[in-house]
């Protein structure tokens, strides 16, 4: 950026130039890069990955031993388990994202940069989603193992992994709301986990409600996460409504998060 006398407002061209310095034409890329790198410097991210893969490893071994010689190779199992575990891991991955910035006061500084709150939130979200994507990619090792000892249905695998990717994006976006809502990371994690669990269990709630009100039961089911993943994407059926559900949940959650950050900024 060209030097500028103190007390002089930057011109539009200068702001654009600064934006390019930060993240090119899309400033959220700068936030994304910063956060994404942060994950690989943070021991918590490695701890989360360790716990996830230890659990998956134990589960996978048990499954292979149990179905050995009896059932076909099912590669949709691992992404399904990951989606279930996300009620636990999504809040752990997102609790720090905004709550820490707010608590340490760095959010104010970041907001002085020439980018909107929306770009800031999207950058953060893409970083955590990218980290989650890395975990998913690593879990493909189980698919590779399955393909060595059997013949997996790769079409179903693609559906299940694509679904798990979208599912992860949606729950990470939901968990981010609570990171923006409170400065306390633990509170953010608990609230996020509770919300995701409620959405995960909505199918069960819908079953309980079906006798009293089938319409309400359907609405509850449609709002939940599992109705859009477990029976369809995890089985290899790709439905437009399921894809849109996850994309819209991401958009809505990020929108709400942005509003919360904006309100915080105005309040301050």
């Amino acid at each position: 950026m060209t030097d500028m006398p103190l007390g002089t407002l930057p011109t539009e061209a200068q702001v654009e130039e600064r934006a390019v310095e930060i993240g090119g034409a899309m400033p959220f890329i700068a936030v994304f890069k910063r956060e994404f790198k942060q994950y690989f410097r943070s021991p918590i991210a490695y701890g989360v990955a360790f716990a996830l893969f230890l659990f998956l490893g134990i589960y996978f071994n048990g499954f292979v031993s149990q179905v050995n010689g009896q059932m076909p190779a099912d590669t949709t199992l691992i992404p399904s388990i990951i989606t279930f575990l996300m009620f636990l891991f999504a809040p752990l991955l997102t609790m720090r994202l905004i709550a820490e910035e707010t608590r340490e006061g760095t959010l104010e500084t970041l907001m002085t940069l020439p980018m909107s709150e929306w770009q800031f939130i999207v950058g953060k979200f893409l970083a955590v989603w990218a980290y989650y994507t890395v975990l998913l990619v690593i879990s493909l090792i189980y698919v590779a193992i399955m393909s060595m000892i059997g013949t997996p249905d790769y079409g179903a695998t693609i559906g299940a992994y694509f679904g798990a990717w979208l599912y992860g994006g949606a729950v990470l976006a939901i968990a981010m709301i609570f990171s923006a809502l409170t400065e306390d990371q633990i509170v953010a994690a608990f609230l996020g986990a509770a919300t995701i669990l409620v959405l995960y269990l909505s199918n069960t709630a819908a079953s309980a409600l079906s006798a009293q009100s089938p319409v309400l039961a359907n609405i509850v089911r449609e709002l939940g996460l599992t109705a859009h993943y477990d029976a369809t994407m995890a089985a290899g059926i790709l439905r437009l409504e399921d894809v849109l559900y996850f994309v819209f949940v991401m958009i809505a959650a990020l929108f709400i998060t942005t509003r919360i950050v904006e309100i915080r900024r105005w309040r301050s």
Partner: protein, 529 residues
């Protein structure tokens, strides 16, 4: 708990009243502060934010509902688990193209807790509907909320699917011809659709006569009616030719008819024999089980002279009245000889009984002689024979008056050797087919529970006699097995390697990198400070 109380109560209303009064008091006592709060920046921006957020969510919900109504879905599975395979598509195309086949409906009995399975399986059902040219439809029924409907179709657990043809005349579901499938497995569903809509009509007449044992053949009747959807009637031969009888012999509406003679102690009358002869001369089918002749008259329908003269002259088979016993290959008593000599290419082994493993248990059987030179256009085949140590007792009173097992042992003068216990014959000119077994034990319930092949052979005899297997093969669509259906296989070494890789290497590797990163950051921080 207060939240679940049906009425709000005095505490609830009192609390609200107190809150409202407090709010009014605050506005009256500090109006400037109240105005500031209501028109302040936070509330204005916050309020706008809330409205905008709600609008965005509503807009997304509207788009979602519109997209949902489009019902756009893709089956990504390589095994076509949720879309029709080439075989099923071909079967549905032929079903759609045949105007004589009726419409059908899939009644999927899924409970409320199976909503996910409904979403999943409706993709497959939709594909059936699309490929059937509009002849198929489906609906989901909750068996827990409609137990009567579920029991009407024999549904015993949620997840079962009844395939029911629609009666073209009345437009109502032909409940009695429903085919039940346990899960939405494509092969089963396709075959059930073919079965429910197939026009095959088969009937079995169990002939009633003195001491006939049709009433003791419920297991066989159950197979015919419930598994194969046959009509089964008990009647005597003269009834079958009555003009008023509901199911007359040689009714052209039936694709297959078979007369089953389940034993009997008295010979057929001339009239009855005439009916049988006429039926067989016109290509009819007969399965004959010989009832025991160990009775005071020492007679049986199967060993009667008039019937056997006819059978020998027309089919080359004769059932003799001597009773066959076996001391070396029998079940508990020589009166229950076992046959392990089953024809490896005839119906007893070629339709379902594993070759070399089939065992037939007879009860005081007679024996059959097969003519060395069969009548013209007739092919005779031995189905089952005794062991070489079997022997014949012609003096039946010796068996009936025996006081100890020793009296049943072979004596000098008894004919010993291998004897035919079951045979089949076919007249290739008329199409008549007959199967003869020398004991009713092949088909009676008492022997169906033992670990022998009697029941299966009894059913197979009916299948062969009526050519039902040809009909079934027409409505059974074999599905190609795909590599994805083959179970995975891991050796002990594989399992150990998988264990090491997924429980040790992968998680601990990640943890190791994490520790390294943390250590590096720590050292970097120390250097900076």
């Amino acid at each position: 708990m207060a939240l679940t109380q049906p009425t709000f109560g005095i505490i609830g209303y009192g609390g609200i009243a107190f809150g409202v009064l407090a709010l009014i008091a605050w506005i009256l006592l500090a109006p400037a502060q109240a105005k500031g709060v209501l028109t302040g920046r936070t509330v204005r921006f916050g309020g706008t934010s809330l409205i905008v957020t709600i609008l965005v969510i509503v807009a997304l919900a509207v788009v979602y509902v519109l997209a949902r109504n489009q019902n756009v879905r893709v089956d990504l599975t390589e095994s076509d688990a949720y879309s029709l395979t080439a075989e099923s598509r071909e079967a549905m195309a032929s079903y759609a193209a045949d105007p004589t086949l009726p419409d059908a409906r899939l009644l999927a009995f899924y409970s409320a807790s199976q909503a996910g399975a409904q979403d999943r399986d409706s993709a497959l059902f939709d594909d059936y509907v699309r490929n059937s040219g509009g002849k198929l439809s489906y609906e989901f029924i909750d068996p827990e909320r409609n137990p009567q409907q579920a029991s009407l179709y024999g549904v015993t657990r949620p997840g079962q699917i009844a395939v029911v043809a629609v009666d073209p005349a009345t437009g109502e579901l032909a409940t009695e011809d429903a085919a039940l499938v346990n899960n939405a497995i494509q092969q089963d569903l396709t075959n059930a659709i073919m079965e429910a809509t197939a026009q095959g009509q088969f009937i079995a007449y169990f002939i009633t006569s003195r001491e006939s044992e049709g009433a003791d053949m419920t297991a066989l009747k159950d197979i015919l009616t419930n598994r194969w959807d046959w009509t089964v009637v008990d009647a005597n031969l003269t009834q079958l030719t009555s003009p008023d009888y509901e199911y007359p012999l040689n009714d052209p509406n039936f694709d297959g008819q078979v007369i089953i003679i389940p034993g009997g102690s008295a010979a057929l009358t001339d009239e009855e024999l005439g009916i049988l002869e006429n039926y067989l001369a016109n290509g009819g089918d007969l399965v004959l089980y010989a009832g025991t002749n160990l009775n005071p008259d020492q007679t049986s329908l199967a060993t009667s002279q008039n019937l056997n003269d006819y059978l020998e002259a027309n089919f080359g088979l004769r059932i003799h009245p001597e009773v066959l016993l076996d001391t070396t290959q029998a079940y508990q008593t020589p009166l229950l000889p076992i046959s392990t000599n089953l024809n490896t290419s005839a119906l007893v082994t070629s339709i379902g009984v594993a070759r070399g493993q089939g065992v037939l248990l007879y009860q005081a059987p007679n024996y059959i002689t097969v003519a060395e030179t069969a009548p013209a256009n007739v092919t005779t085949t031995t189905l089952s024979s005794s062991s070489d140590s079997a022997y014949l007792i012609s003096d039946l009173s010796r068996i009936m008056n025996a006081q100890s097992p020793e009296e049943l042992l072979p004596q000098s003068g008894d004919t010993t050797g291998r004897f035919v216990l079951g045979a089949q014959a076919e007249n290739t000119e008329t199409g008549a087919r007959i199967v003869v077994f020398t004991s009713t034990s092949i088909a009676t319930d008492a022997f169906s529970v033992l670990n022998v092949s009697n029941q299966q052979v009894a059913a197979n005899s009916v299948v062969w006699a009526t050519n039902f297997d040809n009909f079934v093969s027409q409505i059974t669509i074999p599905q190609q097995q795909r590599p994805q259906d083959v179970p995975l296989f891991a050796s002990e070494q594989d399992l150990r390697n998988i264990n090491f890789l997924t429980i040790i290497v992968l998680p601990l590797g990640i943890l190791g990198v994490g520790v390294y990163v943390w250590w590096s950051n720590r050292k970097r921080g120390q250097v900076k400070s």
